[in-house]
Amino acid sequence: MMRPGFTAPVENAQACFRAVLDAISRPGRVQILTLGLTPPAPLDIATAAVLLTLVDAETPLSHDAGAEADSWLRFHCGSPMAAVGEAAFVLATGKPPALAGLPAGSEEEPERGATLVLQVASLEAGTGWRLTGPGIEHEHRLNARGMPAGFISEWAAQRGRFPCGVDIILCAGDRVAALPRGTRIEEG
Amino acid sequence: MAYVAVKGGERAIGNAHAWLAETRRGDTTLAELEVPQIVQQLSLAVDRVMAEGSCYDRDLAALAIKQSKGDLIEAAFLLRAYRTTLPRFGYSTPLDTAAMRIRRRVSATYKDLPGGQVLGPTFDYTHRLLDFALAAAGEPPAPAPEAPAGDTESPRVTELLSREGLMRREDDATAEPADLTRQPLAFPAARPTRLQNLARGDEGFLLGLGYSTQRGYGNSHPFVGEIRHGTVTICLTPPELGFEIEIGEIAVTECQMVNQFHGSRSEPPQFTRGYGLVLGHGERKAMSMALVDRALQAGDLGEDRTAPAQDEEFVLLHSDNVEATGFVEHLKLPHYVDFQSELEVVRRMRATATLQPEQATP
């Protein structure tokens, strides 16, 4: 049987959007979603909520989440499925694809850079990476467990292509944080 | 004098709306105008509002005209604001205007042609003398004479020229056209996008631009290949059925202008076409649209772009009367904060100029 989407679609989507808006406005700050959502494995609540909130028939989606999640996403979001290099949204529950392989937009249309929804093991503010850049008063610390090896250098490489690039929404359990393309990341 | 804060904006707005409603109704000893009367007796106003409001619904367009006290741009705006709230059930297949049930069809390029010339209900050869008989309510006019519709087909004039190889073939548009109501305009704009924009565009704006192309602003030598007005069938292929079904019919006006083209390095001399299509009966608009459409093809055809009508950014970004009226009329909103900052600057500049005339420039 198909698992349900949001119980209150209008309110839940708004609440989740505000959490994501806060997350991307203040990179590294961790937002907690309080939603009753029972998504199919392997999707965490936050991951599923972010997709329900932002993805629809107008946004080609690429994902690695398997058959059950695939039919759930097709049913609730109605998004066309696309290759990583053509997707507006890329969902990675396992090892994410190389950032350089995702659409990064162009100098004239950097907004066409993809959004990577990356499900990680856990998200904790206050320790870990040191983040600086727009949205951050001094520095934010973020500990994202389960990030792929070599991520920091991949990120630094894409930072050099600003304003082109990929924005990342990190999800773990009921938690959301974000790394917009302009954020600078240093190992903690 | 005490400073009177602009308190009571809420009450002022309420009172203004009440007064508006009263003036809309006018003298209550006269019968109230009914929406069906507008549909029937002001049908060209209804057509214009449907075209510029880009929503085919005669009753709603008539209601909008009544609500707007006959301000047709305001009425088009009401209809636009309503149409954006409507859910989309699907997309029709392209209209086949060759299969139009014709009420009017004229060609200026041929004396006679298959299907014939059909004058239809037109003002064209009326003498523009005020008809005082209409001022007095009287007997309805005698019914116009009727003849059975001929069963000859009326092929499009441009198609006749194409078969002879004299008319430039249009590129087969296989790609899904962009939807202007969903995606913002980007430049350069594809022809389907331009045509969508013009079809919703303000009749007066297009009329002026079209006129300018006839007066030398843009290299244009137009002939009316054909104007046709009548009804066409709307078809839809619902995904759950998988085959085409008819869902109704609408009235449209189509104009195909034939223009000379001297040819380029890659193409021989031939005729090119300017295309106009509007909802309802709107000949002036369809003709103006066709002139402007042709002018906007200058870039594609390798012609010089020198005239306003050939400038796609200029034309497409200023054709929409709902956008234009909003921005022009927003000037009546308070701007006193900005004006205050301008006052400060002008006073400061004057002070500098009068005190130190020599040192005003560094």
Partner: protein, 285 residues
């Protein structure tokens, strides 16, 4: 106030909200860059805040407290009209107090009180393109932004100085965001520009007719363009508010007769009223 159930919450349908929300996230991720979006026709005229209204509608939730100002005042007719619109279609609580608001939609001013991290300010923008008076063609300005080529604007400001001795732009004064994008701050007086610099609140900008959204994240550098020998200086009328005595707020000039009589009062009505209340309390004590 209960909301009109004939419309979806906050008027826009969910597809439209999602489209605007995606544009907003990209706008925040690329500070100062104008993101095209499929602006819808709203039941209010273009040029009267349709961009701001669509942004507010996409962000607003049932627990938000909304403040709407025009020219700094809550009771100007267009502010009243927009507040009534959201009352009707969202049923949210509204306020005139800057500090109580979670979302502030504004036309032409930034409130005098410093905004906080818990707030979002939404600007109504008539012309999002800061270069439009110098180059009206969007295809051209888009290229200039891509190359960060803003020489045209520098030349314009420099010509001002050569001609008048100082920069003659007094509102919509262009800013550089995070040293990358030239941005229009919307037609706020230049006096308000410094408030945008490293503001704690998120700043969102909506242009409905021009179909563009842009944003400045919190704590982001916003620098008004200037020259070393002609630094940017925000100006206000050289007077104090007649009502609250403020010598630092932005003032409206009110003409009191036809013989040159005038007085100055705060443009920010909430700021002025709370100062007047404070003054009254002091006097009583």
């Amino acid at each position: 106030m209960s909301r009109d159930e004939a419309y979806n919450f906050a008027y826009l349908d969910e597809d439209t909200k999602r489209m605007i929300r995606r544009a907003l996230l990209k706008a925040v991720a690329i500070p100062g860059h104008q993101v095209p979006f499929g602006a819808r026709e709203m039941p209010l005229p273009y040029g009267w805040g349709t961009g701001g209204i669509q942004v507010t509608a996409a962000v607003l939730g049932p627990r938000d407290v909304l403040k709407v100002i025009d020219q700094g005042a809550d009771d100007t007719t267009n502010a009243v009209s927009i507040r009534r619109f959201f009352n009707r279609v969202a049923g949210v609580e509204t306020t005139t107090h800057t500090r109580d608001a979670t979302i502030i939609q504004t036309r032409h001013r930034i409130p005098e009180a410093a905004l906080t991290e818990a707030q979002v300010i939404v600007y109504q923008v008539p012309m999002p393109e800061p270069l439009f008076k110098l180059e009206p063609r969007l295809a051209e300005t888009r290229r200039m932004h891509a190359l960060s080529d803003y020489g045209l604007m520098h030349v314009k400001l420099y010509e001002d100085i050569a001609r008048h001795g100082h920069i003659a732009t007094s509102y919509s004064y262009p800013v550089m965001v995070d040293e990358r994008y030239l941005m229009s701050p919307s037609p706020i007086p230049a006096f308000d520009n410094p408030k945008m610099h490293r503001m704690a609140a998120l700043q969102l900008f909506g242009a409905g007719r021009e179909k563009r959204i842009y944003a400045v994240p919190p704590y982001t550098d916003v620098r008004s363009l200037d020259f070393e020998d002609h630094p940017f200086r925000p100006h206000r009328a050289d007077a104090c508010c007649e009502l609250c005595g403020s010598g630092s707020s932005y003032l409206d000039e009110v003409v009191t007769d036809d013989r040159g009589g005038r007085m100055f009062v705060c443009s920010d009505t909430d700021y002025c009223e709370s100062r007047q209340a404070g003054n009254a309390k002091e006097e009583a004590a």
